[in-house]
Symmetry: C2
Subunit: 255 residues, 2 copies
Amino acid sequence: MSAIAIDEVRTWAAEAGRLARSYFNRVSHVRKADRSPVTQADLEIEIMLRERITARYPDHGIIGEEQGIGSIDREFVWCLDPIDGTAAFIAGLPTWGVSIGVLRYGEPYLGVIAMPLIEDCYWADVEGPAFRNDEVITVSSAARIDGNDWMGISSYAHRQYRFDFPGKMRSLSSVAADCCYVARGSAVGALIGRANLWDLAAGLSILRAAGAAIVGLSGAPLDVPPLLSHPKLSEPVIIGPPQLMATLRGYITRR
Amino acid sequence: MSAIAIDEVRTWAAEAGRLARSYFNRVSHVRKADRSPVTQADLEIEIMLRERITARYPDHGIIGEEQGIGSIDREFVWCLDPIDGTAAFIAGLPTWGVSIGVLRYGEPYLGVIAMPLIEDCYWADVEGPAFRNDEVITVSSAARIDGNDWMGISSYAHRQYRFDFPGKMRSLSSVAADCCYVARGSAVGALIGRANLWDLAAGLSILRAAGAAIVGLSGAPLDVPPLLSHPKLSEPVIIGPPQLMATLRGYITRR
């Protein structure tokens, strides 16, 4: 049995989602030192989640997008992105989510991503499988890619890459959403830019439970534990079904 | 006063949106002759809208994505896309909408676009202004484009163009949604592929009322009346604030 009650984490994510939704289209933002935006909703949600986690699991560590890196020398470390896709949230776009991931000894252990506007919650723990709401999900089982497939990319990818993907390419502006749509087999894959651990931690658990591979653009496997002390990915990663990874990589060329 | 009661059209769009929402994540699809997908939701919504329009405005013409071109020799012609963004709808993505446009003597007269998952309704008639729900909207008044701006593109644009846009590029997979986000000044512009009249008719009224320019990629102004008999755009169009059109065009190069 998992050491963390995932049903309870889902209720926290739903609560956070309602809070985010109450601010949607009604909030201004400021820019952080790295020029990325933050809103009152991000800040309130992170505080709320930290309170819930600390009360229930006082010996666990917490890393959050807005309040930084706490105690990472614990068996369990929670990685919080209160609103993954803050820029989409500010733009009035619906593709953003509350992302709650847990690592155990640095490896993905549990993930919950709530996308409140569409009432979707994606979740998985280390025992698997992965779920969208109450339905088990898996990555695409397709043997090849055709013009009806779609792939997620970051919203800045056009500046760095040339793509020869034969289908549709969509930038949802949320790493968490990219992970969910790949995990459910809707997207055939995604190219994720140099995200931070909190963007990706929940998604990694869900992707692994759904059968996805996660590989750096260079072909190197993603090494998660070092991200605890250096949260930014050292290179972009491709996520998708194992049988399609080489094909997906082949569509991407540096400009 | 407008010849069409737009408040009533908004109630039809809301009704259609509820119907679409009831099918979201619960519907299969087939492919039409042009390989584009269609669902039971598209078909039922178009039938419902045609019934409402015919009962209320029996002498008006109707063109619909699913049931084709009817009487286009009327003063008023309704252009219906029951679900603009059907592929996104099928993929479980939230960016799709019910698009109801009216032309008068071939020119944009009225438009209503409902995005039911996010409870947004965009609307305008020929008397202006444009609205999102009960709030007046206008295109961006920015004098220049920077790295925090975003632009909409079609999900196949990567195959045809190279982009040097300095900000984010997002493909929402719905022409109607592209029009709405440009009209409200969230997106600084969008490149729309060779869409059909029903994809664009509602959006054109909303864009014009919000102060947008609509120009072919060649620089030629969009001539709407010929689309009644030949619904497919002869070239992609750029939509955006008049003061930024030349800049936007300059970012786009054919591959």
